[in-house]
């Protein structure tokens, strides 16, 4: 909210400069979002005196003024089109170089006559909409001084405060901030807040009834007669404008003024509209009124389902039972606490008004305005709860102002206040206060802070005689004024004591605690190893959003039903919550291919799924690889190699890569494999199908692999044991062969191992020519206790070769 610093000064009597006050408030109260000199845009506009006026030789409607400003070395010659100027007047002069909203003032030649500046009208200074003539200043204005000094809001500063929800009820008002300033200056608050007491004169014309006491805690209605609707005086308009409100007429402006001063939204109805004019339900309700002495009535009730109301801003809204209305018994006059109705508002012919100062249930206002999408100065305050006692103060103030500026006379008051709110008491344990802050706030200062805040304090002595020997007082009973709704617990009080006393006085202190080792988060450190291995293998780390869009589902063929969905996405690209790690990594590849020809990337993160209808999360690793030169299946084998390297780094030996029966929609089914360790599925590696690549405009072979990190951590939990190094030589024999198309390398390896027995340590595929189905393997053999004789080796080979031929129809080449 924006605050006029002059207004705050007036209310608090502070002598501080705006900058100093802003600094104090920042350190002890709340965040200041801005501090600006009002009318800063008028820099360069000075007071000038018109010395001479002559006719323009070439234009009937123009005049040439000679003006003294004391700014230029000589008097200024200025061409002016306004008819209202006269010699001797003091006027605002924008000298050459001044920047106004219309642009920079430059030396100009107007119809052959030179002009060195501009005489300004109201609109040109951003003060109003009038362009009727040059703004004529007070005769006492001093020539050469900044014109801002002589305009409304002169020398004022605008303070913008970030008001947080806990203090909205008192700080969204000038009185609240002024009170805060007084506390910080250790001064008694001078504003006569407590003396704002309603007169007791009961209205003879207005009856108020609250049907729903839960939603309306108090309703003060006042009838004011003899009102003249007109423009507000300058001082009032200035204050509203500084705070960002648009002046309308004296009655509306007065209610807004009091809202800015005290924080209580007010509303004014035309009395005639409050006297029932409606047609519906006339029999029932109006009759009731006719029997009584009252001329008008206000009934606060819930709306009926589908009841309609046209608001002040001309919007028509359809209501239901959860919305609260101000009615005249028949027709809705206003949407309670949010906005007035169009028909019941003040018009220029209004003579008698009904003023409303009420207190509504914050939750209900919040819900209604959220559902209806409305946000007004009034709802902004009501939805954060307000002190019902504030209604009275605000009513007194607005009556006072209207008596002065609208000639109004109060007829009488109708105040319905079913459950009066009184000050409450919070017990503040002194030892606890100091213990929580970590410093001993001197008792005298502590009590003084509380008292300045308007809190009534009463010492309590320790219950036990022993306690009384240690301290004089153990606690303070604090009676909280109702305008501080937020002070409910002793911690709330300790916060106010701490911040006003000064957090900067609290000295850092080392904690004293038992020395205990922190429990290690195994997953975190496991993932660090993965990151380190992968960066070692040349992979760069991606961080992706946890969302993607419907378009991605279309492109990848993943189904919507596997996904959790946001109810309120920011844009369609982020509608679904990531169930597949692959989607965003595809986009990473697409984007980076614009700058790079080979890509090795990975991401560690969560995927989110539905498991038995409930959300579940799983930590995963995704890898993607594009090679610079990517002939045929090379990319797949390259990334497969990386996954093998990674698994081996965790001493995992029994890894299998199995064909996938039902492959993912994005993979090429002939080029993808499930990774299985000890019977557990760990993940997959595969080539992304050409169609999906094309959907993402990826024109190269792309291999991806995904590994479930929770499963991997589980299978990686093996204990490492040193194996003695074999002292005897390793002998190797090569077999070159032609392999039938349907035989897999894994079958050959298994057979060789099984047939060769203990002596075979290792089998390597060292050559392969895919087109001719030829493979060459090297079999490494050794024994742990002797050097193998060549006869032994031959015997093994003679067992293997026939089995290859017979079992797998492999043709072994000599």
């Amino acid at each position: 909210m924006k605050y006029s610093y002059n207004w705050l000064k007036e209310l608090s009597d502070t002598k501080l400069s705006p900058e100093k006050a802003a600094e104090l408030l920042t350190m002890h109260s709340f965040e200041i979002e801005g501090l600006e000199k009002n009318n800063a845009s008028l820099d360069g506009v000075v007071v000038g005196e018109i010395l001479e006026i002559t006719k323009h030789p070439n234009a009937d409607k123009l005049q040439i003024a000679t003006v003294e400003t004391r700014h230029a070395s000589s008097r200024l010659q200025i061409v002016c089109g306004a008819p209202n100027i006269a010699v001797g007047q003091k006027v605002p002069v924008a000298v050459v170089g001044t920047k106004l909203s219309g642009g920079e003032i430059k030396e100009a030649e107007i119809r052959g006559v030179k002009s060195f500046g501009m005489l300004c009208a109201e609109d040109e200074l951003g003060l109003g909409e009038s362009h009727a003539g040059i703004l004529i200043l007070d005769k006492k204005a001093k020539v050469g001084e900044p014109v801002a000094k002589y305009l409304g809001g002169a020398d004022d500063s605008v303070l913008e405060i970030k008001v947080l929800p806990d203090r909205a009820h008192d700080i969204l008002s000038h009185v609240g901030v002024a009170r805060e300033l007084s506390v910080l200056e250790k001064k008694k608050f001078s504003y006569a807040f407590n003396e704002l007491i309603l007169p007791t004169k009961k209205s003879q014309k207005l009856k108020v009834e609250i049907k729903d006491k839960d939603l309306c805690k108090r309703y003060v209605g006042v009838v004011m007669e003899n009102i003249t609707i007109k423009e507000s005086p300058r001082w009032l308009k200035d204050r509203l404008e500084i705070c960002g409100l648009r002046p309308i007429n004296n009655v509306v402006d007065a209610t807004n003024y009091v809202m800015l001063e005290l924080g209580q939204p007010l509303h004014a109805f035309d009395m005639e509209k409050v006297s029932s004019q409606g047609t519906r339900n006339k029999e029932q309700e109006t009759n009731k009124l006719q029997n009584s002495k009252f001329k008008a009535q206000i009934i606060v009730r819930r709306a009926k389902n589908n009841e309609m109301l046209t608001l002040l801003d001309d919007s028509k809204i359809k209501l239901n039972e959860s919305n609260l209305l101000i009615t005249n018994g028949d027709d809705a006059l206003a949407l309670a606490g949010i906005m007035g109705g169009k028909d019941s508002g003040i018009s220029e012919n209004t003579k008698t008004i009904v003023l409303e100062a009420a207190s509504f249930d914050a939750v209900n206002i919040r819900r209604t305005r959220t559902v209806l999408g409305l946000n007004t100065d009034s709802s902004y305050r009501f939805e954060k709860d307000l002190d019902p006692n504030l209604t009275e103060k605000a009513m007194v103030r607005v009556i006072d102002i209207l008596e002065h500026i609208a000639g109004g006379k109060i007829e009488g008051i109708a105040d319905i206040y079913p459950k009066k709110i009184s000050p409450w008491t919070v017990r503040l344990d002194l030892e606890y206060a100091n213990q929580l802050l970590g410093e001993n706030v001197p008792l005298k200062e502590l009590v003084s802070i509380l008292n300045l805040l308007g809190i009534h304090t009463k010492y309590q002595i320790p219950a036990s005689p022993a306690g009384r020997q240690n301290t004089k007082y153990s606690a303070i009973a604090c009676t909280i004024p109702t305008y501080r709704l937020d002070l409910r617990t002793q911690e709330d009080l300790i916060e106010d004591i701490g911040r006003i006393w000064g957090y900067e006085k609290i000295v850092p202190r080392p904690m004293i605690a038992e020395v205990l080792p922190a429990k290690l988060n195994e997953q975190v450190f496991f993932e660090r190893i993965i990151q380190d291995k992968l960066t070692g293998l040349g992979f760069d780390e991606m961080y992706n959003y946890s969302f993607y869009g419907a378009d991605d589902l279309k492109k990848t063929g993943f189904s919507e039903s596997e996904h959790l969905e946001l109810a309120n996405p920011m844009n369609p690209d982020q509608q679904f919550v990531r169930a597949k790690m692959t989607v965003n990594i595809l986009k990473n590849v697409r984007e980076n291919l614009k700058n790079f020809s080979c890509i090795s990337i990975f991401e560690i993160g969560k995927r989110y799924m539905l498991k038995n209808g409930e959300p579940a999360e799983e930590r995963n690793l995704i890898l993607a690889k594009v090679l610079e030169k990517d002939s045929n299946s090379e990319t797949f084998y390259n990334l497969k190699g990386t996954t093998e390297d990674l698994l081996e780094a965790f001493n995992i030996k029994n890894t299998q890569f199995l064909e996938i029966e039902k492959s993912s929609t994005i993979l090429n089914p002939g080029r993808s494999a499930k990774i299985v360790v000890g019977g557990k599925a760990v993940g997959f590696v595969g080539e992304v199908s050409q169609m999906v690549c094309a959907n993402y405009k990826i024109s190269k072979h792309l291999a991806i692999a995904e590994i479930n990190l929770e499963v991997l951590r589980d299978v990686a939990k093996n204990t490492l044991e040193y194996q003695p190094i074999n002292k005897f030589p390793v002998v190797s024999r090569d077999i070159s062969m032609i392999v039938p198309k349907d035989i897999k390398y894994a079958q050959i390896e298994t057979l060789v191992k099984k047939t060769g027995g203990e002596l075979v340590n290792n089998i390597l595929l060292f050559d392969r020519f895919e087109a001719k189905n030829s493979m060459a393997i090297r079999i490494e053999m050794s024994a742990k206790d002797r050097t193998l004789e060549s006869a032994e080796i031959d015997a093994v080979m003679e067992k293997i070769i026939p089995r290859l031929k017979n079992d797998l129809s492999v043709e072994v080449r000599k």
Binding site: E383, E491, Y503, R509, E541, N592, E614, E617
Partner: protein
């Protein structure tokens, strides 16, 4: 006689070796003087015919000289390999780039996260984590923010269409959601940090993104106070930035802490004298902190006022941006290798 002959041979070797220009000539020279059929080896073979006294004397000299000649030849060999024509043949352009395998790069968030985790692990903190999709209860209610609490507006929330039973689900807006869960399972004293991914439905610009990383710290025990918060924070930030950092607390409001603070640190560029980096504020804003609200303790089943504690939540991106002078937080999630490969 023999003695002078041996010395003569050494002299000849020294003279001839000067003329040797390549390894072939050196090989010939070595063969001539030390080869099996050389004059010198002949002497050694005939030593046995000498008188014992003379044999000892000449034998020693001959052996010593043989070793000296060998040294000379080896020295020449070394010289030749440095300057010889074969060295010339093998000479390469060493400025041609090597065959790099290329080391990968961590995202700067990971780097900063590790720094934080390591410092806090050193201070005896456990690293905790929780789900990124939270129930409304743990993300809000348990943190003293019931439905319709105005403070909920401080955190624009991504809600899910899906529900857990009857409970509403949200992408967690803060790592504080882990607080309640952890405390339900553990009794004080406790010290945890919670680094993790958070989500807010905010418009994105250079300093805001709808996905971000927070790290939460939570200490609960008996007699934990504001002074402790200041000390732990100063220790951490001083270590993190490698320079002395002072902490400044300003009043603020969060439903889950009371008192609550805005948390500033002395400017890492000027150290608190005022400069362009801190816009002459002498301090840099970092995030929110406070003493845990007793309502939060009650919500997890601790007795009211039995414990005190502090908590904070800072953005990891902000720290990374300060550390590496990154000016746009959207870069972290851009996936742009031109960015990642700088770290």
């Amino acid at each position: 006689m023999l003695k002078s002959k041996i010395e003569e041979i050494k002299k000849q070797v020294l003279e001839e070796i000067e003329k040797v220009k390549n390894s072939d000539a050196l090989f010939d020279l070595e063969k001539k003087y030390l080869g099996r059929k050389s004059e010198f080896v002949g002497f050694l073979k005939n030593l046995k015919n000498l008188a014992p006294e003379e044999r000892k004397q000449i034998g020693e000299l001959a052996n010593k000289t043989k070793l000296e000649i060998l040294d000379i030849i080896n020295g020449k060999k070394a010289d030749l390999s440095k300057t010889g024509p074969s060295a010339e043949k093998e000479k390469i352009d060493v400025t041609i780039p090597g065959n790099k395998k290329g080391v990968g790069h961590l995202n700067p968030i990971s780097i900063v996260r590790r720094d934080i985790e390591d410092i806090f692990t050193g201070m005896g903190f456990e690293i905790a984590d929780g789900p990124e999709i939270e129930t409304e209860f743990y993300n809000f209610d348990a943190l003293n923010m019931p439905k319709d609490h105005p403070a909920r507006e401080m955190q624009e929330t991504f809600w899910l269409k899906n529900k857990k039973g009857k409970e509403n689900l949200a992408m967690r807006t803060q790592t504080s959601a882990v607080q309640a869960k952890y405390m339900e399972k553990h009794k004080p004293p406790l010290r945890i940090i919670v680094p993790g991914k958070c989500f807010r439905r905010d418009g994105s610009d250079a300093t805001h993104d709808n996905t971000f990383y927070q790290f939460e710290a939570l200490i609960v025990g008996e007699n934990i106070n504001v002074g402790h918060l200041k000390q732990v924070a100063e220790d951490f930030f001083s270590q993190f930035f490698g320079q002395e950092i002072k902490v400044r607390l300003r009043p603020s409001y969060f439903p889950f802490t009371e008192p609550s603070f805005e948390f500033d640190i002395s400017c890492t560029v000027c150290g608190g004298t005022g400069c362009k980096a801190c816009k002459y504020n002498k301090c840099l804003e970092l995030g929110g902190a406070g003493m845990v609200n007793q309502n939060v303790f009650e919500a997890v089943g601790y007795k009211r006022n039995a414990y005190t504690g502090f908590a904070w939540g800072f953005g990891l991106e902000r720290l990374a941006m300060m550390k590496y002078k990154i000016d746009d937080c959207r870069l972290f999630h851009s996936g742009d290798l031109r960015f990642i490969r700088q770290f």
